[in-house]
């Protein structure tokens, strides 16, 4: 398949790509990225021009109906965002959608950079100065996305919403052993925050370190399949912060258990947990959302991620929602730094 696809790029699709300003210089080389073991995932191929050290294109290939839907969504999203100045060099430029052997192929201009996830696994960007810079880049991007897609407001989740979500958890996982007074505290915060509103805007949907490319030019964001609009803005920022905490090399080259990594990022006091807290406070400050309300939103986020509906048709085993449920349980057993006076 790779050989035929490269031939298509070289011959049949070349004119269209050339009109979009993409120069094709054969022989082309294809580097298939992503875990080869993930059979149900989409296929991504980086395309290199002859003697060029950076890939020119990325081919994203959907080989079933569900993936087609996601890929079409991504292509439509990128086409919509590509015209906006804020995203010029920060998103992959969509170049064409083609049919190939009953598969859908999206051709996009490749974004330069190394993923933040790879940097963390290489134990790079782990010092406070770098972490602060990376958090700022991520938050600035989310603010740009919010500005570009905002279209109204949403009511703050009230006690009925929180009760309903906790009931859904009970239904799926069986009766949950909540700490004494936890439910009352949560519902109390929800009542306090009744008058607040949230802005309605788009979410990226998979805003984690693996999809953020760091380069000297700044931040690039890839994998827009989970884009949804309208949505609540807090999903992306919480997804980024929680997954960042799980990816951070807390123990250097030794593995850190998931729950412990989460605890270190959100419940125990250290420079990084303080930085996560400060970043969240700053991010929500412009909407005048106080720390206790952020705590409530984070709780809601963890509950939603714990439900099977969070990731449709998750091909991984065990499914990711059970991992998130573990994080939710860790979160409610400890004292969040967001509740510090």
């Amino acid at each position: 398949m790779i050989t035929e696809l490269l031939e298509k790029v070289e011959h049949e699709w070349r004119d269209e790509l050339s009109q979009a300003g993409i120069r094709i210089r054969p022989p082309l080389y294809g580097l298939k990225i992503g875990d080869l073991s993930s059979m149900n995932r989409k296929i991504n191929i980086l395309v290199f021009n002859h003697r060029e050290k950076q890939p020119t294109l990325i081919l994203r290939i959907a080989h079933n109906e569900e993936q087609r839907t996601f890929l079409n969504n991504e292509y439509k999203t990128l086409s919509g965002l590509a015209g906006k100045t804020a995203f010029l060099s920060a998103i992959p430029l969509p170049l064409g959608l083609f049919e190939f052997q009953k598969k859908l192929v999206a051709v996009e201009r490749n974004l330069a950079g190394v993923s933040l996830f790879a940097l963390l696994l290489r134990k790079k960007h782990t010092r406070p100065k770098w972490v602060q810079r990376d958090f700022r880049l991520a938050c600035d991007f989310l603010c740009d996305l919010e500005r570009a897609t905002m279209d109204g407001s949403l009511p703050f989740p009230d006690s009925a919403v929180m009760n309903n979500k906790l009931a859904q958890l009970d239904t799926f996982y069986g009766p949950i052993n909540l700490p004494k007074g936890y439910r009352e505290r949560i519902l109390g915060i929800a009542n306090e925050c009744r008058s607040l509103t949230l802005r309605r805007c788009a979410r990226h949907g998979d805003f984690w370190a693996g999809n953020l490319l760091i380069s000297p030019r700044g931040l690039g964001v890839v994998d827009w399949e989970g884009y949804a609009h309208p949505e609540q803005i807090f999903h992306d920022i919480f997804f980024f912060m929680t997954t960042y905490s799980l990816s951070y090399p807390w123990r250097g080259w030794n593995e850190c258990p998931t729950e412990l990594a989460f605890k270190l990022g959100f419940l125990e006091k250290n420079w990084l947990s303080e930085m996560i807290k400060d970043t969240l406070l700053l991010f929500f400050q412009k909407w005048e959302i106080p720390p206790r309300a952020i705590y409530l939103l984070l709780t809601l986020f963890l509950i939603e991620m714990s439900l099977p509906s969070a990731i449709a048709n998750d091909p991984r085993y065990p499914p990711q929602h059970s991992k998130w449920f573990g994080l939710f349980q860790t979160f409610i057993q400890g004292k969040s730094l967001l509740l510090d006076d």
């Binding site: 050989t3 035929e4 580097l31 875990d35 080869l36 073991s37 050290k53 790879a118 290489r122």
Partner: protein, 216 residues
């Protein structure tokens, strides 16, 4: 990585050949996920037994059928290259495609590794190319399998150094401190065209000449 996943990663080797439904593909060995996936894709799969280590005791001493459109050898681990491998290759039709995985005898990894794997014979890309050429094949592409041929996580083109340079600079995630130290060296070696030394396993994509049966 567990066994199921490793099987799946071999199944994805099929993306490296121009397969089409209805064609006959031979698979050396018993990679179940690969065979199942090929069958699901509408191909007719012929399982080929690994060769005995000596040509005199091969179980098929006669002339082989020339019946395959494609041949996938995920990992060739026998010491018997010529004539055992040659005999298997003869089953491919003229114009047919071959995927051949070899344990790279020139990989720098062997200098640092204390392990002497049993039953994995190594061969250089040069010797493999000679053997393929003698059997009427030309090499179309060559990939470095990272990090092992048995369960490749990523396949890096190594015909020139650029993709390998990009891989070590942008994608590679070291699992150990030692691997992290070697990354800049690997990047440097790739930039000066020595990328083939950086992979323990190589995957060769070759095509049998269209004219005749390929015998020279």
């Amino acid at each position: 990585m567990n066994a199921i996943e490793s099987g799946y990663s071999q199944a994805e080797l099929r993306f490296f050949l121009p397969l089409a439904p209805g064609q006959r593909v031979g698979v050396l060995g018993d990679s179940k996920p690969l065979i199942e996936t090929l069958t699901a894709d509408g191909l007719t799969v012929t399982i080929i037994s690994p060769p005995a280590d000596h040509p005199l005791i091969t179980d098929d001493p006669g002339n082989p059928n020339i019946d395959l459109d494609h041949l996938i050898i995920p990992e060739y681990s026998s010491d018997c290259y010529d004539p055992c491998l040659s005999r298997i290759l003869q089953r491919l039709k003229p114009g047919g495609w071959l995927l051949l995985g070899i344990h790279n005898s020139e990989a720098l990894f062997h200098i640092f590794s204390k392990k002497k794997p049993v039953g994995r014979s190594r061969i250089s890309l040069g010797k493999s190319s000679d053997l393929l050429y003698r059997n009427g094949f030309h090499i179309v592409r060559c990939y470095g399998a990272y990090d092992e041929l048995e369960h490749p996580e990523i396949m890096v083109p190594v015909d020139t150094g650029e993709a390998a340079y990009f891989f070590f600079k942008n994608i590679f995630v070291p699992a150990t401190r030692f691997a992290a130290w070697t990354r800049p060296v690997a990047t440097l070696l790739a930039s000066i065209g020595l990328q083939r030394l950086l992979f323990r396993g190589l995957v060769i994509i070759a095509r049998r000449a269209s004219g005749g049966n390929g015998d020279h």
